[in-house]
């Protein structure tokens, strides 16, 4: 019979100490690990991570459905870590423990610039340029073009197309007033009426204007178009004006916390059914969601910025 060894030593008290030590260490290790998970779950981090992972994954798939170049800002409340792979992404906080992951689809030829871990503080910027896809921490200056100074002084009306937007007329008028005030005192505001059954739109004095520049506020299914009418003589300049407006929006600091789709005016082509209403449309900028008070504030900021871009350039 074995008389020596760990559990056969006559000094049984030593063995008891070892067993006690094991009894303490192993449960503590288990407890720390499990309570870490429990804490993660109960502090809502887990649900947050899962939500963001799925939302961004779905959104990434949607971006790939677009044939055009897109820069999109996904607003975040807290500092979040992202890890994009070719067909999946991981989302985590802090030390990136228990990251939530989800998959997405893309074009087969699209290449992702993979980075180890991207720490995003406020806005996850997703950039799709042809077959190239990357994410950034802040808006790059990709959309900033050097525009020559031009004068387009015949903006004399604002047309608001409510489309399927859920906000009431009072909010539409509010927005129109803000934008009107930002442009010039003499501008008149016209609201575009729409017959949903026939999908037709009517604009008062449509023939008076040969060219329009459209600003689209809101997301698909919940947006409103704002068209600035421009005298036909100034149509050729409207692209440059649009370029200036895009630049001013991109440079707007407060804009970092809102959604942004900026369409490069040089690369823009008419692809939108609504846009075809106006043959000579120069540019569409799609901006944010107006379905809350914050966005009203955002539009006020934007309109101020636009008015600066339109009015305060050298002749």
């Amino acid at each position: 019979m074995q008389k020596r060894g760990l559990f056969f030593n006559k000094k049984g008290i030593t063995h008891q100490q070892l067993v006690l030590l094991a009894e303490l260490v192993i449960p503590i290790l288990l407890l720390v690990t499990l309570l870490g998970w429990v804490n993660d779950a109960t502090s809502n981090n887990l649900i947050d991570k899962n939500f963001i992972a799925r939302d961004v994954a779905l959104f990434t798939s949607t971006l790939h459905a677009s044939p055009y170049n897109i820069v999109y800002g996904y607003p975040l409340i807290t500092e979040t870590k992202f890890n994009f792979d070719q067909n999946s992404l991981k989302v985590g906080y802090g030390e990136f423990k228990f990251p939530a992951s989800y998959y997405f689809w893309k074009n087969k030829n699209t290449f992702y610039e993979i980075k180890e871990q991207e720490i995003i503080k406020e806005n996850l910027i997703l950039i799709k340029e042809g077959d190239y896809f990357l994410l950034e921490n802040e808006l790059s200056k990709l959309n900033v073009k050097k525009c020559p100074f031009i004068r387009t002084d015949n903006i004399d009306s604002i047309i608001i197309d409510p489309l399927d937007i859920v906000v009431g007329d009072d909010i539409l008028l509010n927005i129109a007033e803000r934008i009107k005030f930002g442009l010039t005192n003499e501008v008149s505001t016209k609201e575009l009426s729409r017959d949903n059954n026939n999908n037709e739109r009517k604009i008062d004095n449509l023939n008076a204007y040969k060219a329009y520049m459209g600003l689209r506020f809101g997301l698909d299914g919940n947006f409103l178009n704002v068209y600035y009418s421009i005298d036909h003589n100034d149509y050729l300049k409207s692209k440059k004006l649009g370029c200036r407006i895009i630049n001013s929006l991109v440079e707007l600091d407060t804009y970092d916390s809102t959604n942004l789709i900026a369409v490069d005016p040089d690369e823009f082509s008419i692809n939108d059914q609504e846009s075809l209403l106006f043959n000579d449309i120069g540019i569409i900028i799609e901006i944010g969601n107006i379905n809350n008070e914050f966005s009203i504030q955002m539009i006020e900021d934007i309109s101020t910025k636009i008015s600066g871009a339109v009015n305060n350039y050298d002749e």
Partner: protein, 170 residues
């Protein structure tokens, strides 16, 4: 018995084992309780199927390259194939997420063309949609049917696009 030192040691080990197993049960009970009382997962499979469907429509639609405009209501017969769709909607080498069958009908209900996206997945998940027990291990089938225009080279005629989208319930 307890006066024997070997018996004492053996007794300690047995007692510790019981205590240890009990501790494990308690710890995992905590996790189980948290899991059952707190929702940690968000099921977006149905929304995902919608995104996939509309992405597919976009990929199969006629696109006028001259003005870079795609017409989502017009299905281009030349693009209506699995090769085209798998290049536009690519889930990776192994696709365990989504499979679909698209069938084009003319006005007389004759099949004009059909194809299956992710054939392996379809063979695997389609039988699972017939399962009467839902949850992980089964699959969900979403049926879509919309009237469309069919573009066959220079000819246009009206038809119907019937789609079956299947995804596994994970």
């Amino acid at each position: 018995m307890m006066n024997n030192k070997k018996a004492q040691t053996g007794h300690t080990i047995v007692k510790s084992l019981v205590w240890f197993i009990f501790l494990i049960i308690v710890l995992f009970s905590i996790v189980l309780l948290v899991r059952t009382n707190i929702t940690n997962t968000i099921d977006i499979k149905n929304v995902e199927a919608e995104v996939f469907y509309y992405g597919s429509l976009s990929a199969l639609s006629f696109k006028e390259d001259l003005i870079d405009r795609s017409y989502n209501g017009i299905i281009d017969l030349n693009k209506f194939n699995n090769h085209n769709l798998e290049s536009k909607i690519y889930y990776g080498e192994e696709n365990y997420h989504m499979t679909a069958k698209f069938t084009l009908f003319d006005k007389s209900d004759n099949i004009i063309k059909e194809f299956i996206y992710n054939q392996d997945g379809f063979d695997k998940y389609e039988p699972l949609t017939k399962s009467t027990i839902f949850g992980p291990g089964s699959a969900t089938k979403v049926l879509k049917e919309i009237p469309i225009m069919i573009k066959d080279n220079d000819k246009y005629y009206s038809g119907l696009l019937k789609s079956i989208i299947i995804y596994p319930n994970k």
